[in-house]
């Protein structure tokens, strides 16, 4: 696949000097399979980077059903990081990732520091991986996951060790389920991360009134979708002034206007998650909206509006 921009650089964003995306749009981990699920159905060129679902050292079958539940403004999930494990991922996804036109980011998680580091070690051998997103914010597993993302000392240690083991682009996905997200974000920056992505899902639950039971098998899951957008915007507005590294905005983005809000709040790029379910071609719609927006506003780059709401 040829590596050239089709928007004349209007939507080009820089997340690190050597990590430039031709489109600021990425799929949020866990809502787009391994990245290759829809190759026959939609055009992937609208994504500047692909992000895999979370990969762990060992394969994981995930949580018992029910794993998903629709709510009035979003959805609950309790997938539990079901994935094929790093070795099978490396074997089976090389061809797709090698041919993807943009940056290739692998989202990883572990139940202890050693597992995160081992997954990184195995992926470092793959030339077709450009960066990592560290999942320290999954609410749906017993060990690891969110436990790393809620304690700034534990997180600083983990990210520092990962930093010592890779020069690749390193992004950390933050949970909103903390009392002080700024101290977490600053700890991540000080440990050497290149970006933070925020926010992962909020804790959420629902009751199935017919069965008189919790709707999810694991009772509490992660809440995502349009309902969490104001929470994400609020937290990005709060974190942005405290950070020097870029923020990748996530949380209920469904259309171009939503994306603009995230840029204005301080996000340098965005991830689309739950909206993929209600519109598999959402990236194309947002991409086209952003190109038209730049033309209409007479700006030469979408980067010009990053954080304008804070100025």
């Amino acid at each position: 696949m040829e590596k050239k921009s089709f928007s004349s650089g209007l939507l080009r964003v820089k997340l690190r000097d050597d990590f430039i995306l031709e489109s600021p749009i990425m799929p949020a981990s866990g809502t787009f399979g391994y990245g290759d699920e829809l190759v026959d159905m939609i055009e992937l060129k609208y994504y500047g980077a692909i992000i895999s679902k979370t990969i762990t050292l060992q394969p994981r079958s995930g949580n018992l059903p029910e794993r998903i539940c629709e709510t009035s403004c979003g959805m609950l999930n309790s997938i539990g990081l079901a994935n094929i494990g790093v070795d099978r991922f490396v074997r089976e996804k090389e061809v797709f990732y090698s041919n993807f036109h943009g940056k290739r980011i692998v989202n990883i998680s572990g139940s202890c520091e050693g597992e995160y580091l081992e997954v990184i070690k195995r992926l470092e051998k793959c030339e077709w991986v450009d960066g990592y997103e560290i999942n320290v914010s999954c609410p749906n597993v017993d060990r690891g996951g969110i436990a790393f993302g809620t304690d700034s000392h534990v997180l600083r240690s983990l990210i520092g060790k990962i930093r010592n083991n890779t020069d690749r682009f390193l992004m950390v996905k933050l949970t909103p389920n903390v009392s002080d997200i700024c101290s977490i974000a600053v700890a991540v920056q000080e440990a050497g991360a290149d970006a933070v992505s925020m926010i992962n899902t909020l804790y959420g639950a629902a009751i199935d009134v017919e069965r008189k039971k919790p709707a999810l098998g694991r009772v509490v899951g992660g809440y995502s979708g349009p309902g969490i957008k104001p929470v994400a915007i609020a937290l990005i507005l709060k974190v942005k002034p405290e950070l020097d590294i870029p923020i990748v905005g996530i949380g209920g983005i469904c259309n171009g206007e939503d994306a603009i809000e995230f840029f204005m709040a301080g996000a340098s790029a965005i991830q689309i998650g739950t909206a993929h379910f209600s519109n598999p071609a959402v990236a194309k719609d947002i991409y086209n909206y952003l190109v038209n927006y730049c033309a209409k506003e007479g700006i030469s780059s979408i980067e010009k509006i990053v954080g304008v709401a804070l100025r």
Partner: protein, 268 residues
């Protein structure tokens, strides 16, 4: 290869599309039950009975519906029962309305006609929908064909087009056999010459009993499952079912690995 050739060869279609479709017909054909014919704006890829389409309606999740029949390269029909907000909305859409659809999705039924002396279709309620499409595809198959259709009462009855052995059951006895469709299957199946392949779709209790019957008489069985799906295309890993694989119990995705499974491998 044309669509009809592909279907004749029983090969799995691989292409899927996300596109606009026009509603050609949306009619109430039985109690709370509608038949909708959709005309995609461009050619719709080849499909197999058992595959489904996503309809993008209200809310976050699209709704999956079995393809209940095809008319040529484009048009297809679905059957649905009004059970919630989305199907209520669907029932109110007029001819000419435009909706987003994706499909064909999932894996359909498999039938190797030379291996069986008969095919037995067993549908309960709106579960007859994918079997209508299968029935249509079995039209020219030489083996014997039987369609067992069960409903709560006579007001819910929808019957497939075409000739053949259609055996009807209603739970209240208002039409046909009095009892469930699997009770009727159990009484009749011994009369048919083996080996048979059974195809079943309907509520969990029906599927479980159909598998029990298939096991008892040593017939093959495929079942089409229904679950809540967030994406319908393998993105979220939400719609899992327990499956007995060679390596032991594992989860399979109803949307991508199914919705049609070997009934004897599903752990109910």
């Amino acid at each position: 290869m044309s669509m009809s050739e592909k279907i004749r060869q029983n090969s799995l279609p691989e292409e899927r599309k996300f596109l606009d479709a026009i509603i050609e017909r949306n009619e109430c054909i039985a109690s709370e039950t509608y038949e909708m014919v959709l005309l995609p704006e461009i050619d719709f890829p080849p499909s197999k009975p058992g595959q489904f389409v996503n309809l993008y309606l209200k809310g976050i999740f699209p709704r999956p519906f079995s393809i209940a029949g095809r008319y040529g390269e484009k048009e297809f029909k679905i059957l649905y029962k009004v059970i919630g907000k989305n199907t209520e909305y669907l029932s109110g859409l007029q001819k000419g309305s435009r909706i987003k659809i994706a499909g064909p999705l999932g894996h359909g039924f498999e039938w190797k006609e030379k291996e069986y002396s008969g095919f037995v279709l067993v549908g309960g309620g709106i579960g007859v929908a994918p079997l209508f499409y299968l029935w249509d595809n079995l039209k020219n198959v030489e083996a014997k064909k039987y369609f067992f259709a069960g409903f709560k009462n006579s007001s819910e009855i929808v019957e497939p087009d075409g000739l053949g052995n259609i055996l009807l059951a209603t739970e209240d006895g208002s039409a046909g056999y009095k009892g469930t469709v699997v009770d009727l299957l159990e009484e009749e199946i011994e009369k048919f010459s083996s080996p048979l392949k059974i195809f079943a779709c309907g509520p969990g209790g029906l599927l479980k009993k159909a598998v029990t019957i298939a096991n008892r008489f040593n017939h093959d069985i495929e079942i089409a499952l229904e679950t809540v799906m967030a994406c319908g295309m393998g993105l979220c890993q939400g719609c899992v079912v327990k499956y007995m694989a060679e390596e032991g119990e594992e989860f399979r995705l109803v949307c991508k690995d199914g919705p049609v499974f070997d009934g004897k491998k599903i752990i109910f």
